[in-house]
Symmetry: C2
Subunit: 590 residues, 2 copies
């Protein structure tokens, strides 16, 4: 078995003990690692009805056959658990330098179980597991926690994933951070780590398994590089990063603005990708994960003014949308400041920005004068601190959008699916994104198919709904395979099915037909749904917020009707082989 | 086993004998009838390398589980054979009143083998098979042949399929006609029937098998009717028929004109659907197959003038494109006249119109003054007669586009795939149609996925190529299931996967998941490719004519590059599970 260890590490935090287990080759062959393995282990190890912040929940790290190789984009690890935000299936991925170290420690997956008595740092390496007390760094921000955790192990090559105050306080949209600015952002996995009293996990080691065909992999990567590096999409990532989307979405009039009441932000040009790289007060340099030639990351430093010296990797498009569009903050420096604050506190910027905007809307409506007004960046910063520390007016937001909207009596305007807020693509315009938000297992997710890509690139009409589920599923299947390998989904244009076949062959030696890979993807997605259905999140949770159906965007009148959504969803269920009539999964079930 | 007889009739024309065979239930369950059953029987019964006009070829009739029921659109039968036009897999379907009679005769499929000593009429009923001498009607046109064949049996409820002079003379694009104007048009199956000396086949009987759930079927049809009959698409079929496409294609600048050198016909408004129903000299009435509420057919009578009293069902869009667009004949009466002539002679209007236009282009280039000029309707009529009777200047066209272009030294401008000419959708504009033309087993076919529908309806961008194969395959899979039932593909919008599941359940009692139905479709399509590959039509035949890649349409500059086509084709092969590197089929093979 190549490219895998065939080994799982199970850590019992209650007893500070651990053991290795064998992962059968047939499981790896069937689920391919990453998301496939993580979802399989989640179904096997976590009862769907438990309290996600109780010791009964488990936090699963997984890597895949591409991890630790020179494959561009193979720098991501996956986290799987029961989400404290949605109560359903949780997954989240982060780039940077941690993933290869998890693999080099000798494991394909790691399961954290139970709850430590007090704050700890975990050191996981090819020489075993160490448990360090972490009372002294409890309370530190993620940057400091990461540094301190690495220092504690004394391993100069170590990498670490850490939580901030938000995770410690079990804020339900807290993230796990690494390399300061890389976040496993969504679903509140930082809160799960916090609930287990784990402040940071440090990884190091030298145990990388060989790939099946080193020469083929080398040739594959060389060919990929020469075929791709001059592609316009690649150049745009390198030049602008994800903020290139600001102009695209405003042009499409699908840039969520003023808490989902408009599709364009007046002055969006001030927070666009072009603005980012031409701003005289910003120093912006491309930054990539190891081996990646896209370099979507931007290392940005503010030169002068109140935030002089502040440095982040970012801001990402989603952060610009959440604070820029939804909160109407049209100054890049302010957005960068809020981004830095979220990273330090360990807050997911999408959820945090949505909650700040909901609070601003509450103020707009007159009944919450203690909340900041639209456009008020320092008010937003104050709210972020209040969320993370569960104190002051912002504390009401710390358990996520469903309890917050209920407490504020704003349930009719709250925008989320299953408790997770959408990313920056309005489904009234990009209707396939609506299908994705409604059906993604983790809630209103943009990443399961990144369907904004074909909808904005003219591959499929954004307004169409008929027949759309089929292409959606093709993207979702393909990207699901990306998340098993694990390879960054921004390589989606360059790695079509034949390339995935070759890559998997080079890594593992296994020949799969496309039909087999798609069957694997379908099984994995069906496993995530099985978890959700068991947790009580079935068909009735696969819906969009009512405003998407009833409140047209003022610029264009664009609307996604409920009938359109239900028709797409019915096609989606059918194509996945899922039963229409009730919530039980009837095909692809393990 | 419901909705099937489980019976096959095998007729040996050499010995004028016949026998019934049992079709195992597992074959019907696996291939569902119609195209699935026909393709299965073709692979089992016809060696791929035989001469298609020799007695070794066989002509297979098949119906499906929907045939003979009250399901709207279930009025079509399928013919399967080795094509004398392409040398590969042939299939063709015709509506009208024949299909239910084939089923009522007691069979799911009928195979004609060998060659009769002299011209015969076959009578196939639930009381056996009769062989009548037909020397007296040999030479008659299809209308007269159909009437005479029915009269000969004395069965008042009989229906008949017949060939005209073109089929008798084994013109390689001769069709099989029934109900005067309904044609199994493409691939030259009239020539196969002619090669067997069969002038007509008459069907009657009373043996219809029960469906599995009569109440469910009734409810399904009632629901379909009430959900669909006010749909704009349905109304347009009823009002204009397929000629509604003339305006759509000219607007899209994809209306093949002047032998594929332009995308719009000046004066197209004179031959549009609107022109048809408002022309004061035409009497136009909707005409439908039994139970169908679309009524795409138009019974058209010319009131006065040189063609006064001429009556046809039509003209169809494809006939208008072939004679109107390609031959630049912009008078509806002339097109109706040529349509009638093709129907009587038994010529496929698409191939015939393409060949007339090729001849016109030869004249335009100065070296064939005996051919008619563009726009010359009576010259076109003369050519059709010459093709059908293989005499005069038109005889050079009678073996189809490949030999004709070679003889005329016009191979570089001839437009076809595998010897079959495309329908009226220019693939330089509608790029998914290009994928369909290149990969369809029977040649440049528009009907395997009717992909002009999503491309013109704004469901997917016509110009896009990336990711397109996936949606193409969804349509092709779904329509393949239509052709197993057999149900008219014009119901494609109303019968999505869930509706197909319910319909099949009502008919057969069998529960299929969508995944199973798509697997069935993939197997069927892979069988058709297996036949082609065995016949020598592999990957190197799945290409478009060079002009589609090198000659931009003058109105728009539109072009489908070879690289775009090859990329789509590679995705298509991958998604079908077909080997990229050679012509062998590696997945889904029987």
């Amino acid at each position: 078995m190549k490219s895998f260890h065939g080994k799982l590490l199970r850590i019992d935090l209650n007893s500070k003990s651990y053991r290795e287990e064998t992962i059968p080759a047939e499981i790896l062959k069937r689920y391919l690692g990453g998301k496939g393995l993580g979802s399989y282990l989640l179904l096997k190890n976590v009862a769907a009805r438990i309290d996600p912040l109780s010791p009964a929940n488990r936090l699963i790290f997984a890597v895949g056959p591409a991890t630790g190789t020179r494959m561009p984009g193979a720098s991501r690890y996956g986290l799987y658990s029961k989400s404290p935000l949605t109560g359903g299936y949780a997954e989240s991925y982060a780039g940077g330098r941690v993933a290869p170290k998890i693999k080099a420690a000798g494991y394909d997956a790691i399961i954290l179980e139970g709850r430590a008595q007090g704050p700890i740092i975990l050191e996981i390496s090819d020489r075993g597991v160490n448990f360090y007390p972490a009372g002294d760094i409890w309370g530190k921000d993620t940057y400091a926690a990461e540094d301190a955790a690495k220092d504690r192990t004394g391993a100069s090559e170590a990498q670490a994933a850490a939580i901030g105050p938000a995770g410690e306080n079990m804020v339900r949209f807290a993230c796990v951070e690494n390399n300061y600015w890389r976040s496993a952002g969504r679903c509140g996995l930082g809160a799960v780590m916090g609930s287990k009293n784990v402040k940071a996990v440090v990884f190091h080691g030298q145990k990388l398994p060989p790939v099946a065909d080193e020469a083929l992999l080398k040739k594959f990567i060389t060919d990929l590089l020469s075929a791709s590096k001059e592609l316009p999409a690649v150049k745009n990532y390198r030049k602008y990063g994800t903020p290139q989307m600001v102009a695209l979405l405003n042009t499409a009039q699908a840039f969520p603005t003023r808490y989902w009441s408009r599709g364009t932000l007046p002055g969006w040009e001030k927070i666009s990708g072009e603005a980012l790289i031409t701003d005289g007060n910003l120093d912006v340099k491309p930054k990539s994960c190891p081996h990646c030639f896209l370099a979507c990351g931007k290392l940005t430093t503010i030169k002068t003014g109140p935030h002089a010296g502040l440095k982040i990797e970012g801001p990402e498009y989603e952060t610009i949308y959440a604070f820029g569009g939804l909160c109407c903050i049209d100054r890049l420096e302010d957005i960068i400041y809020l981004n830095d604050l979220c990273d330090r506190l360990g807050l997911d910027t999408i959820s945090a920005g949505n909650l700040v905007a909901l609070a601003m809307e509450a103020r707009e409506r007159g009944f919450k004068p203690e909340f900041p007004a639209y456009g008020d960046a320092s008010g937003a910063a104050r709210l972020l601190e209040e969320m993370a520390y569960r104190k002051g007016p912002g504390a009401v937001l710390a358990d996520g959008i469903i309890p917050a909207a209920k407490a504020l009596n704003l349930e009719d305007i709250a925008i989320h699916v299953k408790g997770l807020e959408p990313a920056g693509y309005d489904p009234r315009v990009l209707k396939g994104m609506g299908l994705g938000y409604a059906t993604s297992a983790r809630g209103a997710c943009h990443l399961r198919a990144t369907f904004y890509k074909p909808e904005l690139a003219g591959i499929i009409s954004p307004a169409a709904t008929e027949g759309k589920a089929s292409l959606y599923i093709e993207y979702e299947d393909r990207l699901t395979i990306f998340n098993t390998l694990i390879n960054c989904v921004f390589y989606r244009d360059m790695l079509q099915w034949p390339e995935l076949q070759t890559l998997i062959k080079a890594l593992t030696g296994w020949d799969y037909t496309v039909a087999e890979l798609r069957q694997t993807a379908n099984e994995i997605i069906t496993m995530t749904r099985t978890f959700n259905v068991s947790a009580g999140l079935g068909k009735k949770s696969d819906l969009l917020p009512g405003r998407m159906h009833s409140e047209p965007l003022p610029e264009t009148g664009a609307l996604l009707t409920e009938a359109e959504l239900l028709k797409m969803r019915q096609e989606y269920y059918s194509l996945r082989g899922w039963n229409q009539d009730n919530q039980l999964v009837t095909a692809g079930k393990e």
